[in-house]
Amino acid sequence: MIGLRLYLAQRISALVMAPLVIGHIAVMIYAVQNGLSAVEILSRTQGSLWWGGFYGLFVAAVAVHAAIGVRAIIYETFGTHVRWLDPLTWTIGLGLFLLGGRAVAAVVL
């Protein structure tokens, strides 16, 4: 069940991510050309406020977006009781946010 707030969160996170995904794809195609290495990735990202902001925003938006999307899929596929949907959505969102935050910290700090 998707109400007004979940819908807005889903669509606003999508709008935020659209340019970020395009940027991410462009960086991937550029960076993969000479093979990936930890040194190459870290030399670009470490200590960079710009990449920290880019990936930080990306992680926050994707945590919101994926949690609400998976919520809709679970509800429509399994008919999960509405009572379980909110805790489920929060768990997925927070889980992704924490894991993603750790990844951003790993490559930026």
Partner: protein, 113 residues
């Protein structure tokens, strides 16, 4: 009657959007975990990255890039459908989104090999 009964482009576009989104959501924890390896030791990340040099892994990565662009372009179509004045050409837009994704995915693969 059971299941979905309509097998046309827009119905398929909707399933593609759902499946690509779900697949990306399942991939993300793995993606975040491997990047997080660098938190302790950059060498650990490197060990993993050497594994990704395998051509089969490159194909899988191109598939992931394809899923990401399918979800991106398909999602842009939906945002336009919802927030811009109605356009009757939804099937054309869905087809363009799919074509653009193939283009991006192939572009990634050709850069990677």
């Amino acid at each position: 009657m059971s299941g979905s009964h309509r097998r046309d482009g827009l119905r398929i576009a909707s399933m593609v959007h759902r499946i690509s989104g779900l697949a990306l959501a399942l991939f993300l924890p793995l993606h975040f975990y491997t990047l997080g390896l660098a938190l302790n030791d950059a060498a650990e990340l490197d060990t993993f990255l050497r594994w990704t040099d395998n051509p089969l892994v490159k194909i899988a990565e191109a598939g992931l890039v394809g899923l990401l662009s399918l979800h991106l372009f398909g999602g842009l179509r939906l945002l336009a459908l919802e927030f811009l004045p109605w356009s009757p050409r939804q099937k054309l837009y869905a087809a363009l989104a799919a074509s653009a994704s193939v283009f991006v995915s192939l572009g990634f693969f050709l850069s990677a090999v």
